[in-house]
Amino acid sequence: SSSKTTTSEKKEITVAVSPTFKDMANAVKKEFDKDGYVLNVKVFDDNVLPNVALQEGSVDINFFQHGIYLEQFNKNKGTNLAAYDEKGVIKYFMGIYSNKIKSLNELKEGDKVSIPNDPSNRGRALKMLENNGLIKLKQGAEIPTKLDIIENPKKLDFIEMDVLKIVPSINDVQVGCVNSIIAVQGGIDPKSALGLEEDKESQRYAIVVAVKKEQGNEKYAERFTKALKTDGFKSFLAEKYKGAIIPLF
């Protein structure tokens, strides 16, 4: 499914996704697969290699990341990827969940707080914790890490783990920070959060469709975006994610 140097028009398009987004990509396949087009959904159990694959041309577009991560990736890896629509198509939010306490005020000194260990989720979680008055971060950290915590009055014990492990191990911590998609998939009502991310933060992390610049793949991104921005997809989100994912169209 290489996209380079196609003489006759290419109709088989490959989109790279991470496990979280594969159901969404599959949901728009029916809409996309018209006029002889075929959408291949390639799942990467990782957040780095879908971009690597896009850069090397092994896939045509990808759909799993937010604009900030994409920028960061370009900067660090010297890639030239771009969001097709910088505003993004969907967004979701980070929340603080617990099976043990009813309010953040109940947090005691030394309590365990699980946070994701991938950079963007971790950064969002920390910013959310700051926003809820639990910690203070160094000024100007774009994607903060534990090292950027300058004040931690309750001496919370932050445990970094795979974002997917946060839900199964929620009983082993006082509170867990996880985004709404993971929460809903893990059986937690996204609206039961004890604290949330600022809405403008969530907006910054809207998910975009990415392409490699100047390869002429924008038309596939456009087609894919169009397939996403339908009422059918909207109701799919509402039914499946129960408000965890907010469409931006």
């Binding site: 290489s2 799942v43 990467f44 159990d45 990782d46 092994s58």
Partner: protein, 219 residues
């Protein structure tokens, strides 16, 4: 996703199962070949080997250890340029075979090395005594004598490689392990997770039985 088990089996399990088989078998064959060659070089160049050469031995020994030190995911990333040079892409089943082989070969090498080291010294001397070359000593005597333990070692290696294919999902290679992780674990879908694991269990059982059968036949 678990709406229709039948569809699931048809669209996911069967194709992913064949991908797994493909990756495991190609990677096993390659690992076995590379690993055996490495093991033989290790055995030959060892201090008490047929042609001691400490420089080669230490070098190889270190390289093997270095490769074995890489967490698999980092190995995958670290060798992307190599993978791309060999198979033209860094994603998909074929691309996964390269890191699987590179991780598998040192494992096989260690196992075969330790099997070969156990071959009776006196037997090797007897074979030397009628003028067998080092090549013949290895291939006509040491390997055949060590065959049962080599086989149980390779069985172990196949199962390890199968375990690694689950991680090969990070390069979009698919396969049953990846299904279990991406469709099951990441989707919190226990049916798929344990369903695919069951298939893996059967696969492992088959590999093990085959290994045992060969072991018995050759012992």
């Amino acid at each position: 996703m678990s709406e229709s088990i039948y569809e699931l089996i048809h669209t996911i399990v069967i194709p992913e199962f064949s991908k797994t088989l493909y990756m495991v078998s190609v990677a096993t064959v390659l690992s076995a070949i590379v690993g055996t060659v490495l093991a033989i070089v290790l055995i030959i160049t060892h201090k008490e080997g047929l042609k001691p050469n400490n420089v080669v031995y230490q070098l190889l020994n270190t390289v093997i250890n270095i490769i074995r030190s890489f967490p698999f995911i980092i190995l995958i990333v670290a060798i992307i340029p190599l993978t791309r040079a060999i198979v033209g892409t860094s994603i998909g089943e074929n691309a996964a075979i390269i890191p699987l082989t590179i991780a598998g070969a040192p494992f096989v090498a260690r196992i075969i090395e330790s099997s070969l080291r156990e071959v009776d010294k006196e037997l090797i001397e007897a074979v030397k005594s009628f003028g067998a070359s080092n090549f013949q000593i290895i291939f006509k005597v040491m390997l055949p004598e060590a065959v049962p333990s080599v086989i149980s070692g390779i069985t172990l290696a196949i199962i390890s490689i199968l375990g690694s294919t689950a991680m090969a999902g990070v390069v979009g290679a698919g396969g049953l392990g990846a299904v279990a992780i991406t469709y099951g674990y990441a989707n919190f879908d226990n049916t798929i997770m344990y369903g695919t694991v069951c298939i893996l269990i059967i696969l492992v059982q088959v590999i093990q039985s085959l290994g045992n059968f060969l072991y018995k036949a050759l012992k």
